[in-house]
């Protein structure tokens, strides 16, 4: 026994020495870039599923856009551009759209994409996603010949192409066989046509994508989510690193090549580091959504009081630290969306007028009751904004309580009309106004917007004959938005993605775009 103890210590000593020796020569392993190019991404959130039709989570969207493609997509100006469709044609009456498919497009399993795959995929999309269910319930997709698919609708929809091109819950094309084997909880096999194929999803750790050798790029310059896609990287690893400080340390040390959702507080520190560079990209907007079903804010005047009180600049500064990372902007559609951008309602935005707010509050019959703002610390920008909103509302004499929970609880609480008066959340910039969930009453989305004028205008946009006509209705819609105030937009926000200085070619449109990225 005594001898055993000596040998035990000796063994450990030897082990430790061996380890020390090994760990020092391990550093040279990183520089074998000639062989296979590998991209390590520190990504801030886990996808709840890899089926983009099931969830609206951005993690799924960002990872799977490398794997799946849709018939149409958006270029950098949010304009429609064909992807798996070679061309498309809308009939005179607007009720049918004919898609000519690109030829010899291969799935990751080697099969050639056919009209049957497209019909099965589009039908599943129309039956599964909220967009599909609300706008394509009466529509049918059918095969004309091997390379032609036709979409027939009962009524013409002006926004139909935009909906089909939408990158959130995109109408992706998968082999018919994988669609047939899908369960109610989603696909079980993830086979697409994209420049990268799925190798492995290790839950809680990473998603491993590999270059798809048979990918056929479109011969047009890359723009947004369309145009030429090239896979220069052999292996992409989305490492799920939920801790912000770990992403920061990892991008500084070179453990990762790309790290997303970097804290705004660290931007300056990283900007002064020549090993890395920051990519600052438009990422939608944040705002407060009113509970319009119960409590004080079922009264439109009370909502207008809050809108009059808010100083958006102070809120945005608290959330995003500097004007480099936010933009004071009233419009629901951003300036790049030239077909839509509207000045309507601008005078109602960022009023910062406490006197007017107090008067409106009195008019609304506010009697000092406590207002609950629902927010989370899981997103610091939400929380910081909520704190400033609370202060600003207190300064006009309201009694305000912050209810702070984790994100999962917020998601549940905000669906309960008795649990809150206001919640803070973020939205992506949508390609068409109709896609904003907080507009149509039929969405029944938390906050419960119920404005016949908005509903009517949405309908008119949807059935407009031309972009000019649609734009007119949208002007009116944005005017009404600032009158009715289903929510208050703070302003446009950005997100910081930090890259090692040798990583080039990353783009961003509703999330990072990794094809055409190369590592020098």
């Amino acid at each position: 026994m005594k001898k055993n103890k000596f040998s035990f210590f000796a063994l450990i000593l030897v082990l430790v020495l061996a380890l020390a020796a090994c760990s020092s020569d391990g550093d040279s392993e990183g520089s074998n870039s000639d062989e296979k190019k590998e991209l390590q991404i520190a990504y801030n959130a886990q996808p709840p599923t890899l089926d983009p039709l099931i969830t609206t989570a951005v993690a799924t969207r960002d990872v799977m856009r490398n794997v799946y493609e849709s018939l149409l997509t958006l270029n950098k100006n949010f304009e429609i551009t064909p992807l798996l469709a070679e061309s498309y044609e809308q009939s005179e009456d607007g009720k049918t759209i004919t898609f000519k498919l690109r030829k010899d497009i291969k799935f990751h399993n080697g099969d050639v994409m056919t009209a049957d795959d497209v019909v099965a995929s589009m039908t599943r999309w129309a039956e599964t996603t909220s967009l599909g269910k609300t706008s394509f319930a009466d529509a049918t997709f059918s095969k004309v010949d091997e390379e032609t698919v036709i979409l027939e609708m009962k009524e013409p929809q002006f926004t139909v192409l935009h909906m089909l091109a939408d990158p959130g819950q995109a109408a992706v094309i998968a082999p018919k066989s994988t669609i047939e084997s899908a369960t109610a909880e989603g696909l079980t096999e993830f086979i697409g046509t994209g420049p990268y194929k799925l190798v492995e999803w290790k839950a809680d750790q990473y998603v491993h994508l590999a270059k798809f050798d048979d990918y056929q790029a479109i011969d047009e310059p890359a723009s947004g989510l369309g145009g030429k896609k090239e896979a220069f990287i052999d292996d992409i690893y989305f490492q799920f690193v939920t801790d912000a400080s770990t992403r920061l340390a990892g991008i500084q040390s070179g453990e990762y090549d790309i790290a997303n959702a970097i804290s705004f507080d660290n931007a300056e520190q990283l900007a002064s580091n020549s090993d890395v560079k920051n990519s600052i990209d438009h990422n939608g907007f944040n705002g407060v959504v009113f509970n319009k079903k119960a409590g004080l804010f079922d009264n439109v005047v009370a909502r207008q009081a809050v809108n009059a009180a808010l100083n958006e600049e102070a809120i945005l500064t608290a959330a995003f630290t500097s004007p480099d990372f936010y933009e004071l902007e009233h419009g629901l559609m951003i300036k790049e969306q030239t077909e839509w951008y509207s000045e309507a309602g601008k005078d109602q935005y960022n009023q910062n007028d406490p006197e007017k707010a107090k008067e409106l509050l009195k008019e609304a019959g506010y009697n000092g009751e406590e207002i609950v703002i629902l927010s989370t610390r899981d997103y610091e920008d939400h929380y910081n904004a909520a704190v400033v909103v609370q202060q600003q509302l207190e300064s006009i004499g309201m009694k305000v309580k912050l209810d702070i929970y984790d994100w999962a609880t917020v998601l549940q609480k905000r669906a309960d009309e008795t649990a809150y008066d206001i919640f803070v959340t973020g939205f992506p910039t949508e390609p068409i106004p109709n896609k904003y969930v907080f507009l149509a009453s039929s969405n029944e989305w938390p906050g419960w917007t119920n404005d016949p004028i908005i509903d009517d205008l949405l309908n008119k946009i949807n059935t407009a004959a031309s972009q000019e006509e649609a734009k007119q209705y949208f002007d009116a819609l944005q005017e009404e938005f600032y009158e009715y105030l289903p929510m208050i937009k703070f302003g446009n926000k950005t997100t910081i993605t930090t890259l090692r200085s040798n990583v080039e070619g990353m783009d961003f449109l509703q999330g990072i775009i990794l094809w055409n990225v190369d590592k020098k």
Partner: protein
């Protein structure tokens, strides 16, 4: 001995029942809905309701509990809502990293702490003793996440000696495996090292004053042999107790360290599952951890007998 082990194993059943009830109640009092998390922030309430129905979350809680606990007793801990795999499979997949980390931290702690404790006891009151004990006080006081962040900044970001975060399984090479674990193991093991060092010192001091040590000295036995052969072995029981107890806290403390270093272990599994309200995984993992606590304590109790024959005799 066999009867003793059997008795200890049988005592697991009431423990499990209590744990099961508590965990289940906590889970169902906590707000948050896995269906809403899966479907994402822009899903409609209607879709959430449909998925809840499908996942069986609309059944009465008592019904859910009975069917779940019944399955647990048969060894079926349910299926993860998110990972679509059995909870026990998910648990054991995540157990590897945690065990690697805990063992590495424990080995580091023992290797550092016992010699320090022995030296401190041998040279009691000297500057050496005071320095070691000062360091160990620091080790107890500094929280592991703070030490972890400090190590990441210094060793990972500034000096670039070791990777800052992540995990490589053993099949990616032992060297790689260990390289990624060194910093988290130091962060996690420092408190254990401090506790073990202090316990070693005080336990050694007790024995060093015993009469049989004086006898050995008067017989002219070499001092190193007295310290290691005669004193350390006799002082080892309380040290082993501390090691056993701290191994449990290692697994618990790993949750924090795993988050800081992004290691896909049990701690991270549970934290992620709480964030997304994966009830089956939380309940199953807590049950399995309860089982392993009881088993670790049993092993430690049996080890007493190995080191000290008097304990063994006493049980017969």
């Amino acid at each position: 001995m066999k009867g003793y082990i059997l008795k200890r194993l049988l005592s697991l059943i009431p423990v499990l029942l209590v744990v099961a009830v508590v965990v289940f109640l906590l889970m169902h009092i906590t707000p948050g809905d896995p269906a809403a998390v899966i479907l994402g922030p822009e899903a409609s309430p209607e879709e959430v309701a449909e998925l809840r129905e499908e996942l069986g979350l609309n059944k009465p809680p008592i019904e859910q509990f009975i069917s779940w606990f019944g399955n647990v007793l048969q060894g079926d801990f349910g299926t993860s809502i998110f990972m679509k795999q059995p909870v026990s499979q998910a648990f054991f997949e995540h157990l590897g990293p945690t065990l690697s980390l805990a063992i590495m931290a424990q080995v580091l702690a023992i290797v550092v702490a016992i010699p320090l404790g022995v030296l401190a006891a041998k040279f009691r009151g000297s500057i050496l003793d005071q320095t070691f004990m000062g360091i160990s006080l620091l080790g107890i006081s500094v929280p592991s996440f703070l030490l972890g962040l400090f190590l990441i900044l210094l060793i990972g970001v500034e000096l670039k000696w070791l990777p800052v975060a992540g995990y490589k399984p053993i099949d990616a090479g032992l060297v790689n495996h260990i390289k990624y674990l060194i910093l988290p193991a130091i962060a996690l093991g420092s408190m254990q090292a401090a506790l073990i060092a202090r316990m070693t010192r005080s336990s050694m001091l007790d024995v060093l004053n015993a009469n049989y040590i004086k006898t050995a000295r008067s017989k002219g036995v070499k001092e190193t042999i007295i310290v290691i052969k005669h004193t350390l072995r006799n002082a080892f029981i309380p040290i082993l107790t501390i090691i056993g107890q701290t191994f449990g806290t290692l697994v618990a403390g790993a949750a924090v360290v795993e988050t800081v270093f992004n290691i896909p272990g049990i701690g991270q599994l549970i934290i992620n599952s709480v964030e997304r309200r994966d009830f089956a995984v939380i309940q199953g993992s807590v049950m399995l951890i309860a089982v392993s606590y009881v088993l670790i304590n049993l092993v430690i109790d049996l080890l007493y007998g190995v080191i000290d024959p008097r304990v063994r005799l006493g049980r017969k």
